[in-house]
Subunit: 209 residues, 4 copies
Amino acid sequence: MTDLRTLAKQDDQRPLLCALLRDFHRLGWVSGTGGGICGPASEDSLWIAPTGVHKELVEPQDFFEMRLDGALTSEPAGLRPSECAPIFLAIARATGARSVLHSHALSAVLAADGRQGDTLIIEGFEMLKGVGLSNTEKLSLPVIANTEREYDLTGSVSEALTDPRFSKAHAVMVADHGCYLWGSDVMEAKKHAEVYHWLFEGVVARNRM
Amino acid sequence: MTDLRTLAKQDDQRPLLCALLRDFHRLGWVSGTGGGICGPASEDSLWIAPTGVHKELVEPQDFFEMRLDGALTSEPAGLRPSECAPIFLAIARATGARSVLHSHALSAVLAADGRQGDTLIIEGFEMLKGVGLSNTEKLSLPVIANTEREYDLTGSVSEALTDPRFSKAHAVMVADHGCYLWGSDVMEAKKHAEVYHWLFEGVVARNRM
Amino acid sequence: MTDLRTLAKQDDQRPLLCALLRDFHRLGWVSGTGGGICGPASEDSLWIAPTGVHKELVEPQDFFEMRLDGALTSEPAGLRPSECAPIFLAIARATGARSVLHSHALSAVLAADGRQGDTLIIEGFEMLKGVGLSNTEKLSLPVIANTEREYDLTGSVSEALTDPRFSKAHAVMVADHGCYLWGSDVMEAKKHAEVYHWLFEGVVARNRM
Amino acid sequence: MTDLRTLAKQDDQRPLLCALLRDFHRLGWVSGTGGGICGPASEDSLWIAPTGVHKELVEPQDFFEMRLDGALTSEPAGLRPSECAPIFLAIARATGARSVLHSHALSAVLAADGRQGDTLIIEGFEMLKGVGLSNTEKLSLPVIANTEREYDLTGSVSEALTDPRFSKAHAVMVADHGCYLWGSDVMEAKKHAEVYHWLFEGVVARNRM
C-alpha cells in the first residue's frame, strides 16, 4: 500500500482520498456506506465520492468531478454523486477549502448533544491549537438541525458559514447526524478531522465524569 | 489479501464471508468462536459457517450448503453446521434475505438491556437511514428472551419476523446474547451490520450520559 | 504472516504463542512487557515466555522449556523465565491445562473491582457458554489479593484451584493486577481468553449503566 | 515492515522512532500532527522529530540532530524542529533519559483532570511495577499548567524534574494538554509509554465507576 505521504504529492488526489476513506472507515467515521469526502480536481473543480457505496471500497475511478458552480464534468457510470455535493460546494465557495469530510462519527453526534442553543463550545484543550486557535480560546461550532433529505441541510450550512460567531470554525455539526469539516487541501482536512474528532471525544468524556 | 469489492463480485461468496468474519472478529462481534454467518450458495441454498470454531479462521471449504427447506447438500468432514442454521433459514424464508449475521457484540447486549417490554426503540439518529428508515422515524426492534439451546430461539425469532410492530426491522435482538441481522445479499448484510452496531453503541452511549 | 490455523497444527507451538502475543498486545492484554504465556512443549513440559521483554516481540527461540515438576530443560541465553512460571506450573498440574495466559488487561482489573468478598460473580450472558457453562448459571471466579512479588501469588492461586466454589472457573483473578486463564491447549486458551475478556467488559459496562 | 526488535538493534535509531510514531498515531497519542518524539543520535545529541507534520508519516531524513546543549547539528530543509525540543533537552539533561515521548493522548488529559493540587496520584495497580515502583507504592506525577506557547512549559517542566516529591516519576503531565514521558533508551520509553497510558486509562475508569 503506497503511504499517504507519497499519495499526497501526486497530482491526482483520488488515490489519497481512497486511502483516507479506508482509514476513516476503520475509525468508524464513515460506517455503513455513510459519510463522504471530496478533494481538489482542478483549479475550479472537486472530486466527489459517490453515494450509497461502502466508502472504504471506493476506487479512484468512482469519483465525480464537479465544478464549483455545480456542473458535473465527469460522471462514472452506474453511480450517483454524494448527496453532500451541494454542501461540499457551498463550503468550498464560502471558505476556500478544497477538501471536505462528512463524518458520521458517533463522537460527533454525542458532542453535539451537549450544545447550548445552536452552538457547541469547546474549550480547555491544547488540541485547539490544531484547528487554529489558542489553547485559551473558546471554539464555537455551529450545530444545525437535521433534515430528512441531506441536501436540505445546504441552507443552514451556508448560513452557519457566514455567521460571525463561528468565524474560527472549520466544522459544521449536524444534530443527531455528524459533521462537515474541511481544510484548504486534503492533508489539512485529514489533520482537522483528527483534531476535531479528538475534541469531540474530549468533550463527551468530560461531560461524563 | 483480495479486497471485499473483488470478492463481492465472485460467484462463490464463501471467500467474501471469510473476509467479513475476519473483520467482524476484529470488531469483537464474533469473539471466542461465537456468532455465525451465512450467504447465498445457489437459488435455493445458503452457505452456513460451522459451529464451535474460531470464526476469523474459517476457510471457504468449511461452509455447509443447506437448502432453504433445511436439507444439507454439502457437509465438510469433521465440522458441525452452526446451531443458528434453523434461525438463518427461518429468516431467509420469511424475509427473502440471503445473508444473515449472528453477532455476539457486547454493544448489542447492552443496547437490548434498554428494552421496553419486548421492544428496543431507536430514534433520533441520521444513521437510521442506513437501515431503510427516515431519521424522524422510530425503529422498533424485537428483543426475544434467551434460551439454553440456541435452536430453541427459532420459534421466537419466527414470531418476531411476522409481528407487524417490527416490519421495518432487519434485526432480532436476543436479550443477554446478541442479535441476528440480515440483508438481501452479503454486502447489504455487511452494511446493515455496521449501521446496527453503530446504533447500538449510540443508544448505549446516550443512556449513559 | 502465517495464519493461526496453520500455526496451531505445527508440532512446535512456539510460533503460535508468538502470534497470539502479538494479537494480545494489540488488544492491551500484555502492555509494557507485562503479562505472559505458556504452551505445551512435550508430554511433561511447557514452553514459557521470558520476563521483562516486550511480549509482542517475543520470538520462538526466546522460550524456556520447563518440566511440570519445575526443572528447566532449555534456557535461552540472556533471558529469564517469566515470574509466572511457578503459577503456570501449578495451574497445569492442578487442571491439566497445557496453555495459560497471564493477562494485564484493564478490563480484568475493573471487573475484579466488582468482587463480593473473594469472588467475582458473572451471570446473565450467553457468552458463559464459551467457557463451559449454561447461560442460566452463575460463574464464580476467585479473586486473590495481589502481592509484591509475583511468585508469592502461587499459594493463593493453588488454593483457589482446589476450592469447590470455583470448580467451573478457567481463570483466577488477581485484584488490581489482572488474571490467569487457561485451556487444555493453546487454541482453547485463546478461545477462553476472548470469552473471559468479553465477560469482563460486559460486567464492567453493566456496573456503569 | 521490519519489526521493532530488529530496528531497536540498529545504530541509527530513526527508523525505530518512525515505526513507533506510526504505532502511537494508531493509538491516538499523536493525532493531528500533535505530539513528538526524540531518541539518541550520538553520545551527546538527540534525533528530534519535526513539528507541524503528520507524525505517522515522518521519515528518517526528517529528524533534526540537536546536541544536549541545544546546538542544532543537522537540519532537514523545509522543516522546523519540534517546539518540544527545549523540553526534551531539559529532560535528557536532568534525568539521563535519551528518548522522550510527548503524548497528546486524551487519557493523559482526563487522568490529569483528577489531580490534587499539582499532583496526580496513581496507586493500587500492579502496572506500577512497569515504571519502577512496587504495587503498594503511590506514584506521584507532577501536573503543570498549560501555556500558550509550548516552549514556555520548559521552566515548569525543569522545576518538576528536580522536585523531590516526583523523584519516582518518568513523566510530567501538562493539564488540558498531555504528558512528557521518557526512558533511558527508545525501547524503555516505549515500555513506559505503554505502562503510563494504561495507568491513565485505569485511573480515569476507576474515577467513573
